[in-house]
Each structure stands twice: as structure tokens, then as C-alpha cells.
Amino acid sequence: MPYNKRFDGRKFDELREISAEVGVIPNADGSARFKIGKTIAIAAVYGPRVLHPKFLQNPIKGVLRCNYNMMSFSGSGERVRPGPSRRSKEIGLISEKALEPVLDLGEFPGAVIDVFIELLQTDAGTRCAGITAAALALADAGFPMKDLVSAIAIGRIEDKIVVDVSKEEEDYEGGMADIPVAMMPRTNEITLLQMDGFATLSELKEVLKTAKKAIEQIYKVQKDALRERYLK
């Protein structure tokens, strides 16, 4: 069955509604909330502070440590088992790798920057929402950054390339590939590219092109959110 119309009636290149707010956790050094459709991510940044246990310290450059966590009530009905899991460890790690290129960690030898990403409500695209929120929180904390990082999940369903996959689409029974992409939008450098499923080379190229367009929209929302905090 061809996939001609999306489940929620969006156009194939249309994002869900996005919004962002900065400074949502006064206790943290920097914080942000990012919402895309029903997915809500909150990120809080603490540090740089001394890294313990000491053997984890790097005397040359600081360590970025991301903690990804889905709240137990965040799923759609099913209770998410609290605490670290194989999946959340992996996503924490790829978030670190996605954010590290914009930071200058050489300034903080022996120290750690802690990023906590909490998902309040999940409807697909959580790692992308988490990375986008974390980039905002890092900027809010005042770390010198080469650029922000924006991320979006692109999907291939049958022969269609769809932007910002929803949970319904992610669970699509036919041929489906879920491809999260994170970029530094100013220079178009890709900092995260994963794929669950399969796609041909030409499809993947199309995906990257589509991702770039979507990421520009997210980038704008991020920048406006950062400015908004001080314009009020």
C-alpha cells in the first residue's frame, strides 16, 4: 500500500509545531525546554565542576557528560521503566558526540560539564529534541560555542521521505527507515547521523537535503528563544 498521506495530515516536508524556551530551571547554570509536536525535552547544564572519580578526569581537556532519561510517565500509556538502560546510555553517548564539536573543552582541563536531558513526554524524535534542547542549555550557560546544534528525525516510508517522524509513522508496518540527523546549521557540518532501517544511497542523499531545510527552521526557533530571554 503506497504511503500517500501522513497519519496526522501533515505535508511530507512539514514539521510538527515547535517551540523553545530558555532558562526554565533557575538552579541550573543553563537550561532549556524544547517541544516538537507532543515530544517535550528539558535540558539542564551544570559546570564546569571537578570530575569525580578522579580517574575519569582528562588533564588535557574537559569532559562532556550527557545523561538522557525518559520519565516513567512519558510514553503513550505504557510505563517506562525508570533508571538507566542500554538505550538511554547509548543516546547519552551519541548526544555527547553530537554536542562536543561546538564546544571548546580545552578550557576546562580536569573538569566536567554535566548535561541532563529529561523527556517529559515522548512521541518519537526524542534524541533529536534532547540534543536541540541541550544545545540551547549550553548556550544559555554561557559556554563559548562555534555554533548551536539542531537535530531532526527524517524518515523514509515506502518511497516517500518524511520530515519529523511521529510515533505512528515510526511504527509503520511497511518499509520504514528512521534517520536522526544533527547539524551545526551555520557550517552544515553533520554531528549525528544514525539509521534504523535501510535506505538506498540516493534516498539518503535526499534525506540529508530535506534535513538541512528542516534544521534551518529549528535553528531559527532556537536563536529566537535565546534572544527572547533578554528581550522581555
Partner: protein, 238 residues
Amino acid sequence: MGELKVKDKDIVVPGDELADGMDFLPAGGAFREGDKIIASQVGVISVNGRLIKLVPLNAKYTPKKGDMVIGKVAAITNNGWFVDIGYSNEAFIPLRDGSMEYIPKGADLVQYYDYNDYVVADITRVSKDKEIDLSMKGPGLRKLSEGRIIKVNSAKVPRIIGKQGSMISMIKQMTDCRVIVGQNGYVWIYGVDPVKELVAVDAIKRIEERAHIHGLTDEIKTYLENKVGVKNAVQQTI
């Protein structure tokens, strides 16, 4: 010919292009990439001739040589004191720089600065791996025995001090308080009148919150006048 992409006092965010071409120079939280000057922090732009300076609106304290800071004694060893100055690494006061007077070897260091004592000190050295040395040798550098310490964002310290110290001297005059602002964002306040001391604390908190607003000095002046009365202000200026 270079082109300026922002105006003076604009609020910029990381990744914003500030200028194109080699006619401009980046300073503060801005950097050059190829021909372009890019912002690396959330901050306010100040254009001064060819110089584009980005003043950050929020930043953790990064120690610099020559900064006067306030810190809390966190550990004592047999050759000096470790002081928490609000940075990831603790700063060190070596014995030879511990006091204006000579400290003999083997002296009981607790007699000079005990645990949890606050001290005002100068940063004498910041090494590449961010080891920080402090000195207590200098005018005004001492242990803070009375008064209170409040912590503010170190990015707002220049605003609290004001141009040529205008803001801080106004607070000092109008509240009859003694105030020391450390570059690391630790502020020491001591007033004979505890009510006025609280007014000074409120004023400084207010400056921290509203640092990015224009005409802040006048606003704080009105605020202080309302709190301590105009009389006091006039009296002090005569």
C-alpha cells in the same frame, strides 16, 4: 570593503554572523572564521571603531591573572591554603604569599585563615592546566571577618561596578555600607545598619537581574532613594 551585520547594543546568540570582511576585529565572545566574524556566546554587541566586542550576558567565572577575587578557605595543607573561588579547580595561597607579615615555617596556619573563612586575594598565576595561585600581599587584601557574602553571576560584575565604579560607589554612599566586589562574582557587604545592608543586597541582586537594561544606574538610584530616603542621598553627596 567589510560589512557590519549588527548594530551597537544588539543581543546576539552563538552562530550569529557579526561582520563580513577583514576591516573588523573580534573581541570578547566573538571569533574570526575565514572572512567572517561570528558570535560564540549569548551577549551584547559593542562596536568601537573597527573593534566588535561581544559582552556575554551569562558566563561562569574564568580566572585571569591580576583579578581580585573573594574565596572561601576549603582546605589547609602544611604549605598553604586551598580556596574555593567558584571555579572548578580550587585556588592555592602559598605560604610565602599568605600574609603581609612573615609566616615562619611550621606555624599553625589555622591562626591566619581558618576553614570557611572568606578572604580577598589577587590571582598571581593561572597555569595552562588551570592551576590558580593567589596572593594576600597587597593593599586591601585580607580576611573578611564580619559582613555577609552574596554570590552573583560573574558576567554581571562589570555592571555592578559600573563605569569607573559609578554604580558601586553610589550603593556604598547611599546605604553606608562597605562593599567589595570580587571578579568571580562573590560580593562582600558590611553595613553598620543591618536594614541598609539588606537594601544594598537587594540593589545588587536587582542589578544582576536587570544587567542588560539601559539606564540602569538611574533606575537603581531611584530604587535606593525610595528605600533609604532622599535625605540620606543628599547628605552623603555634600
